[in-house]
């Protein structure tokens, strides 16, 4: 997918929110959806189970309008977190320009986080993408929970962020860090896109 199209002057970014089940990926999207003016967002497509778990994926298109003469669109996706939906995850990852890894800050979820991160790596590899080259931002969600239940951002950095990518502490439910994350990943993606479409 050519994402910066100089002929049609379009920029399209596909950003995938990845992470273990119940880490708050869809919450991120919901929060963003709520903050984007009507005229700029498409329908938030959410295929959820009865218990509100993402069954297939969420999809939120955002139109940022003309930026520097480019009509700019963001497509935000989430993947189902549960282990057994790996085929879907792989599908959604296809053609992603950037990945937000939404980690669960709860101490007891650390293994799930690690497992999901490894899963991300292997799924990317299936598409021939090296995780070291794709724009990636880590979001440590649920930092609003009581201190004794969670790991600090620094601890999580130690545990998960061994590649030194940007990381953001977040409370997606209340919106803290959500846009910061989006900004972070956008910046990485746009810079990569700009460089990648060398004439």
């Amino acid at each position: 997918m050519s994402l910066v199209n100089f002929t049609t002057r379009e920029i399209t970014c596909k950003i995938v929110y990845y992470g273990p089940g119940r880490s708050g990926k869809t919450t991120n999207l919901h929060y963003i959806y709520g903050r984007v003016p009507d005229s700029r967002r498409g329908r938030l497509v959410s295929l959820a189970t009865q218990t509100d778990r993402t069954l297939f994926f969420d999809f939120l298109p955002i139109d940022l309008g003309q930026i520097s003469g480019f009509s700019t669109r963001f497509q935000l996706y989430t993947v189902p977190g549960q282990v057994y939906y790996n085929a879907t995850r792989r599908l959604v990852l296809q053609g992603a320009d950037g990945v937000v890894f939404v980690g669960d800050s709860q101490a007891r979820q650390l293994d799930e986080n690690l497992e999901s991160l490894q899963n991300l790596q292997s799924n990317l590899l299936e598409h021939g993408v090296d995780i070291r080259t794709i724009p990636l931002v880590l979001q440590y969600n649920k930092q609003d929970l009581p201190r004794e239940l969670i790991l600090s951002a620094a601890d999580l950095d130690d545990a998960l962020n061994f590649r030194g990518v940007p990381s953001v502490s977040a409370d997606a439910l209340h919106g803290k860090g959500v846009f910061e994350t989006l900004k972070g990943i956008s910046e990485l993606v746009l810079k990569k896109l700009a460089a990648g479409t060398a004439a």
Binding site: L64, S68, A195
Partner: protein, 655 residues
């Protein structure tokens, strides 16, 4: 039937922004090199974004660069009309011929080709003809060729075959720049923030922007008070939250009031805008422009392209600047080398800034190889040249040459018998020319010129030899008649002559007779020599002789006896050299007798008995029979001098 180019629509008045930079660059390239770079150039954009302006700007720029160019601007409708009129008048062929002879054809609004089959085939034919003839064609349309409905496939591919560029809607910054410039043109002044507000309102086209500006200008003029940003907003019906709010949020420069609901999204948008602006457009555009430009001039642009491949290149402008500097240096080197050795200049190293070091080496090598050609002798200064009626034409010509080397008399041929001072004058001209900055004066005898060429042929370095002389800013050859019969030298001289004359470099020759009277000279050389000024130096007149004598006597520190000078100057002398010979004999005699230099002595020496040796040096009196030191046939004079006493007496008595 052709519209004139509107003088207002030039590149100078065209506001360049990210959205139109590519189109403008392409336009400039085309204007600088019509028919060479992008042919055809197809520019498309929505209405009111500057297509016509750009098209006319290309016309203006091309005209400015080469005033002789035949440039036609017309809209497609005008073209169609003209065509129909021509057909109706039975002048279809004349019409075609006329347009095929246009050097730069600018056609506006070609989208109206839809449903005009015969015009399409006409345009196809014209485009082909123009391209074949190396003529430039620039077209504009409101959509790219494939999207023009019902357009012939061949025409689509033909029109898309050059460069198809679009002009996007101007971004916020460009809109502000346009508004500022237009306001300035109209002499209108606005409070800070007003123009920014107008620019902040989403209007996809410059004409609408102009409309909004006009309304503000009119309002200010009518109410005679300046308006502020808020009034402007009300006046133009913008800025209200809601439908416009979201859009305005994208223009974060539009002021704090323009931010849409949800600060977070606004912030995000602002952030992305900055990122896109930084990452996608600004530096990319600058680099792209530089690549486009230098590639167009035939330089390798790997260094710049590498920039585009990097994630976040640092110091883009520095890289571009250093690249440009390198290219300029390459240009200098190439020009220098081309002068010294035209063959070496074509090397690819001069087109690749990455190989600047190699280019420098090549240049050094060429420079070392090309020692300067022999220069004029310092023994013949112009100041020491005696002037009189017998040579004033030649001296006058020499002065004219020195005033305007290469422009007035080129070549200058000094004609006269041996010993009249041609060589002196030639060297004097050379010395004066050599005073010029960066002057390389080749001044030598034709014999030396021939010998050098022979040595060069022998050493298989004729190219080097040629390069040496080709870089000369002036070529002065003594005794050009010696080239007679030397075919190769004549051939080389012929080429060198043409080359130097083309570059307006001075050529001076000396010869014993006018060019056409010189035997053994090829007609092409003789006619070229005769083509400048042939100035004759005749036998020295009294004035010249006096001047020479006074100078020589002055040099000997002898107080010249006026009677002596008069006596010597009055004696007939065929040449200056002869005169000098006579004087030397007198001086020699005086030295031998350890007596003063007097007219009496001179008379005695020159008319009475004289030493044999000095007699011999007076070559001008020889009959043309070679004087051999081994005896044998002597000259008539010589034979007489053997009985000098008798002879002198006879002459004395005869007088």
């Amino acid at each position: 039937m052709t519209s004139a180019l509107n003088p207002k629509y030039s590149f100078d008045t065209f506001v360049v922004g990210a959205a139109n930079r590519l189109a403008v660059t392409a336009g400039r390239t085309v204007a600088e090199n019509p028919g060479a770079a992008y042919n055809p150039l197809f520019i498309y954009s929505g209405s009111g974004l500057g297509k016509t302006h750009l098209l006319m700007a290309v016309g203006h720029a091309a005209k400015k660069a080469a005033p002789a160019l035949n440039i036609e601007y017309l809209t497609l409708d005008e073209y169609v009309e003209a065509f129909h009129a021509a057909i109706a008048a039975g002048q279809g062929d004349a019409f075609r011929r006329r347009f095929q002879n246009v050097d730069v054809l600018l056609v506006d609004d070609v989208q109206f080709l839809t449903n005009r089959k015969e015009m399409q085939s006409e345009l196809l034919r014209l485009t082909e003809a123009l391209q074949v003839g190396g003529h430039q064609i620039v077209l504009t349309s409101d959509r790219p060729p494939p999207e023009i409905a019902d357009l012939d496939e061949r025409l689509i591919s033909r029109l898309s075959g050059g460069l198809v560029v679009d002009i996007g809607a101007p971004d916020y910054e460009t809109r502000v720049a346009i508004l500022r410039r237009k306001a300035e043109e109209r002499g209108a002044k606005f409070e800070p923030g007003v123009l920014e507000t107008v620019a902040g309102a989403e209007s996809g086209n410059v004409r609408e922007l102009m409309g909004a500006l006009n309304r503000l200008v009119a309002f200010q003029a009518v109410n005679d008070r300046s308006i502020n940003a808020e009034t402007a907003k009300q006046l133009l019906g913008i800025g209200s939250e809601g439908a416009d709010g979201g859009k305005a949020a994208a223009r974060q420069g539009a002021g704090p009031g323009a931010r849409g609901p949800g600060d977070e999204f606004g912030d995000f948008l602002a952030d992305v805008t900055v990122t896109v602006g930084k990452a996608v457009e600004a530096w990319r555009a600058r680099v792209g422009e530089a690549v486009l430009r230098w590639e167009g001039e035939g330089y390798r642009t790997r260094r710049l392209e590498a920039l585009l491949e990097r994630d976040t290149p640092s110091a883009v402008d520095e890289v571009i600047a250093s690249f440009t500097q390198d290219v300029e240096r390459l240009k200098e080197l190439e020009a220098e080398v081309a002068e010294l050795d035209p063959q070496a200049a074509g090397q690819s190293v001069f087109r690749d800034p990455e190989r600047l070091g190699e280019a420098e080496e090549v240049a050094t090598k060429v420079r070392d190889g090309a020692a300067p050609p022999p220069g004029p002798s310092a023994a013949f200064p112009l100041a020491a040249y005696a002037v009189g009626p017998s040579n004033e034409v030649a001296v006058g010509a020499a002065r004219a040459v020195l005033k305007q080397p290469g422009k007035k008399y080129n070549p200058l041929v000094l004609v006269g018998k041996s010993g009249l001072g041609k060589t002196h004058l030639l060297n004097a001209i050379g010395l004066e020319l050599a005073r010029g900055k960066r002057a390389v004066v080749a001044c030598l005898s034709t014999q030396a010129f021939v010998d050098e060429l022979i040595a060069a042929i022998d050493g298989d370095r004729v190219d080097w030899w040629r390069a040496r002389y080709r870089r000369a800013t002036a070529l002065l050859l003594d005794d050009i008649h010696l080239i007679a019969g030397k075919e190769r030298t004549q051939e080389e001289l012929f080429n060198l002559f043409n080359l130097l004359q083309d570059k307006e470099r001075q050529l001076v020759f000396t010869a014993p007779a006018p060019p056409h009277a010189l035997p053994g000279l090829e007609e092409r050389i003789a006619s070229r020599l005769a083509g400048g000024l042939v100035a004759e130096i005749t036998e020295p007149d009294r004035e010249v002789k006096r001047a020479v004598l006074e100078r020589l006597l002055g040099q000997q520190n002898a107080s010249p006896d006026p009677a002596l000078v008069d006596y010597l100057a009055d004696r007939p002398a065929e040449s200056v050299r002869g005169l000098v010979g006579e004087l030397q004999r007198v001086v020699g005699a005086a030295a031998a007798q350890d007596g003063p230099l007097t007219a009496g002595l001179a008379r005695e020496v020159l008319e009475g008995q004289a030493p044999r040796d000095s007699r011999r040096s007076a070559g001008f009196r020889t009959s043309g029979i070679v004087v051999s030191s081994l005896g044998g046939i002597k000259s008539r004079e010589k034979i007489v001098w053997d009985w000098s006493d008798v002879a002198d007496r006879v002459i004395e008595e005869f007088r």
